[in-house]
């Protein structure tokens, strides 16, 4: 086995671009830690019902506002303590992470797909239509995403679904913009010209030549969009425009906990920490990916 793999000739080995990026990424311990943290959160998102010790909405009125277990009056059974309705905070944070992160990932994927399609169209196209779209995008980009989301929520009414729709709509222009610029940049490169000279059609050029070269960049942009989506969804929840108070969503949990901030500081500290850790993980991964991408392209 071992022998079979050994090489007789010294052969220069070229890893595939993806592999190369991964190698670069691996070099940074910090980025790896971020990735591990993100994986833990993903496990929470998927297996929340199995991980949470209690039903997040089960009210136990005999143990209201129990402090976390590390407090002298806390109980080990309720690791993070309970909230003002006697709901187990650990379970709520677990479910809250599921709702907040899970929904954000979903929204980013959807808006990326839509943005990619429209962006490719804008990037490949020429003439008036494309120009109008570009100007339109430039104007939309000027308005803060959260403000767009707030206005959409004002039209549709509050609630988690409307809030999801609003954030998706607010994220799409960014993806269109990025895709358009990337497609534009790639279109002028020689390999695309070569493919065009070979007689490849526009669609074929897009799928066979341009898209594979954009994937990593899109992933990087995806991580930024993800952190923006998490911030927006929890901000809307916090402003009571998003998820209702009964849905365990980290932002609305925070605004719920604000009522008792002084009596039960842990009820704002813990959901906030969950958001913070999530964002740190995502930003670490995003940063790591981007710098390894840059390294790869430079060398």
């Amino acid at each position: 086995m071992f022998m079979a793999r050994s090489k007789l000739y010294i052969e220069e080995h070229y890893p595939s671009p993806l592999k190369h990026t991964w190698n670069e990424f691996q070099k940074s311990h910090v980025s790896l830690t971020g990735l591990w943290l993100l994986c833990i959160f993903l496990v929470i998102v998927i297996f929340a019902p199995g991980l949470a010790p209690f039903d997040p909405n089960k009210q136990q009125v005999d143990i209201l506002l129990l402090p976390p277990s590390w407090d002298s009056s806390g109980s080990i059974q309720y690791l993070f303590g309970t909230d003002s309705l006697g709901r187990d905070l650990l379970s709520r944070v677990i479910y809250g992470s599921r709702v907040t992160l899970g929904i954000s990932i979903l929204l980013v994927l959807i808006s990326m797909l839509i943005g990619l399609t429209l962006g490719a169209f804008a990037g490949m196209g020429h003439g008036l239509r494309s120009s109008i779209l570009n100007h339109f995008l430039d104007s939309i980009m000027v308005i803060p995403t959260l403000l767009i989301a707030i206005i959409i929520v004002a039209i549709l009414g509050t609630g988690l679904w409307n809030c999801m729709l609003a954030i998706t709509l607010a994220l799409i222009p960014r993806f269109i913009h990025i895709t358009r610029n990337m497609v534009r940049a790639e279109c002028n490169k020689e390999y695309v010209t070569a493919a065009r000279l070979d007689g490849a059609g526009r669609v074929r050029i897009l799928f066979d030549s341009i898209l594979p070269n954009m994937i990593e960049n899109l992933v990087v942009q995806g991580t930024f969009a993800l952190s923006a989506a998490i911030l927006d969804i929890s901000a809307l929840g916090f402003l009571s425009l998003g998820a209702s108070a009964t849905t365990p969503e980290l932002g609305s949990m925070l605004s719920d906990g604000m009522e008792l901030a002084y009596v039960a500081p842990w009820s704002i500290a813990l959901p906030g920490c969950a958001i913070l850790l999530m964002l740190v993980a995502i930003n670490l991964v995003g940063d790591g990916l981007r710098s390894s991408l840059r390294h790869r392209l430079q060398h």
């Binding site: 909405n57 009210q59 009125v61 209201l64 506002l65 003002s84 309705l85 006697g86 209702s244 108070a245 009964t246 604000m258 009522e259 008792l260 901030a261 002084y262 009596v263």
Partner: protein, 527 residues
């Protein structure tokens, strides 16, 4: 004590402007500055005792009726004629928008009464033309005439004896407006100014109001009563209970409205803060819209009443600082019926009843929760969530509905709700003040009968009760009324909450007013 306070003040490092004002963190926007037009507590707080006076007043310590703008009064033997002798040399406030040319006199009393009493009064339809408190009590029908005997004497004649009449005149809503100012605005074509830029005889004059932000008042220099001790009064409108507490802790508020029941311990622990407590004349309840099926069915209402555990609600929402309500009257009222049996928690029976009237599991209903805190329900959202949990056990799904307060009250009056968690704060110590506004047919129009429930039999009973002055006799009628309410269950009485208010140690003379709005006239600030 006072001397110590005053010398302390002069030595204090705080600048003059700081010691010269009191900031009160209130819980919501007032609906206007005329309590005649609005029964909400926020309006009463902002206007009733700051800007205005009444003919007579409740003493906050003894609950007795004491003279105010009327220095004395006489009731005829048949209980039909009330004659008020008015106080002399009482000045109205002078502001940039109005300069009074005369003292308060009988014309002002006539104007104030006739505005809501006479449908063809030039001011009757100004600012909406609805006078909920008086309409809910049917006062415009009870009063036969309001007559000016001379400049300082007014006579009011009733159609039938009303043992709660004097108490009604002492409530937050029976304020005395300035007739001269009303004429000025009528001529100028802006009569609604009377309700938005108010003029009264009270201890403070209105300066400015910015919605959702603050109200400013200044001392009324020529106030007829005891002189006000400080120059500026500010209502800092702070809807969030936790922020009010926080502002009290940081010293940004001198006093706060409705400290959270969960926060009472914290306030008590702080040596620089004072917590006042009084049993409240109030009721927090869960009312069903009896005009909407299936809530028009008394059995449905009975079933829902049995599905909830009031003790738990009281523990979780009031943190134990409330009395479980059996009927509509709190134990402090003289007409309280000791042997009344309230509903008890029985989900099995509730489910049986629901099956009996054909309510399938999975039935969905709305519970509206008031968006602001009131003494009678400090956290109605939380209560709604708890009830949601209870109703789930009997197979009913609950949507919790909440709007901003002004919108909430408007939609409630339109009768769009299935059920609502709200309550009632007494405006006077009279039991009629509970029975009539909450359940009488007239109160549907005025918008205090949240159940939209109407019964001729019940109305007759409470009308009868008013004809007697002997408490023992009146009590009998109210017991009969109680049994109708038990049967019909238009609303589930939940709790009578204690009333609390918290303030800094250096504030004195700030008393809990058992009936209605806060009073700042007697408050002193020392350093």
């Amino acid at each position: 004590m006072l001397i110590v306070a005053v010398t302390g003040c002069s030595e204090g490092p705080i600048s003059a402007s700081h010691a010269d004002g009191v900031i009160y963190c209130s819980e919501g926007d007032p609906g206007g500055f005329n309590p005649q037009l609005d029964t909400s507590g926020t309006t009463a707080d902002a206007a009733a005792h700051q800007i205005y006076d009444r003919l007579i007043e409740f003493d906050p310590d003894t609950n007795n009726i004491v003279p105010a703008l009327a220095s004395s009064w006489v009731v005829s033997a048949d209980g039909l004629t009330y004659t008020f002798q008015l106080r002399r040399k009482v000045s109205f406030q002078k502001t940039p928008y109005f300069t009074p040319s005369r003292y308060f006199n009988a014309d002002d009393v006539l104007f104030s009464f006739n505005r809501w009493r006479e449908f063809d009064h030039p001011y009757h339809n100004v600012s909406g033309g609805i006078y909920p408190y008086f309409v809910s009590l049917g006062l415009e029908h009870f009063i036969e005439s309001v007559k000016r005997i001379n400049g300082y004497r007014v006579e009011i004649k009733l159609r039938q004896p009303d043992s709660s009449f004097l108490a009604n005149l002492a409530t937050d809503f029976a304020v005395i407006l300035s007739e001269e100012y009303a004429q000025q605005e009528l001529v100028a074509g802006t009569p609604e100014n009377v309700d938005n830029l108010p003029i009264g005889t009270g201890p403070f004059k209105f300066e400015s109001y910015r919605k959702t932000s603050h109200i400013r008042y200044r001392r009324h220099e020529r106030y007829w009563g005891e002189p006000v001790q400080f120059e500026k009064l500010i209502f800092d409108i702070t809807p969030s209970r936790s922020i009010r507490l926080a502002k009290l802790l940081t010293g940004e508020c001198d006093a706060i409205a409705f400290p959270g029941h969960s926060d009472l311990d914290i306030i008590q622990q702080k040596t620089n803060l004072v917590l006042d407590e009084k049993p409240g004349l109030n009721i927090g309840y869960w009312a069903f819209n009896t005009l909407k099926p299936p809530f028009d069915n008394a059995l449905m209402r009975q079933a829902l009443a049995m599905a909830i555990d009031k003790d738990t609600l009281i523990n979780a929402v009031y943190f134990g600082s409330a009395v479980r309500a059996k009927g509509i009257l709190p134990p402090t009222s003289w007409a309280y019926q000791k042997n009344l049996r309230g509903t008890s928690y029985n989900p099995v029976k509730a489910r049986e009843l629901l099956d009996e009237i054909g309510i399938q599991p999975g039935f969905t209903m709305d519970i509206w929760a008031i968006p602001i805190e009131r003494a009678y329900n400090p956290n109605s959202m939380k209560m709604a969530e708890l009830i949601q949990g209870y109703l789930q056990q009997v197979g009913i799904k609950v949507n919790i509905v909440q709007y901003e307060w002004t919108t909430f009250r408007r939609k409630l009056r339109e009768g769009l709700h299935d059920s609502v968690l709200i309550g009632w704060n007494a405006d006077s110590g009279d039991p009629d003040n509970f029975y009539r506004p909450l359940f009488s047919c007239a109160a549907i129009v005025s918008g205090t009968n949240r159940a939209n429930w109407c019964s001729k039999e019940y109305d007759d009973l409470i009308d009868q009760a008013l004809r007697y002055t002997d408490p023992q006799e009146r009590r009998l009628f109210y017991q009969l009324a109680n049994s109708i309410l038990q049967e019909e269950m238009p609303l589930v009485p939940i709790a009578h909450a204690y009333r609390y208010q918290a303030h800094q140690q250096h504030i004195s003379g700030f008393k809990i007013n058992p009936f209605g709005g806060v009073r700042f006239g007697q408050v002193k600030k020392s350093q």
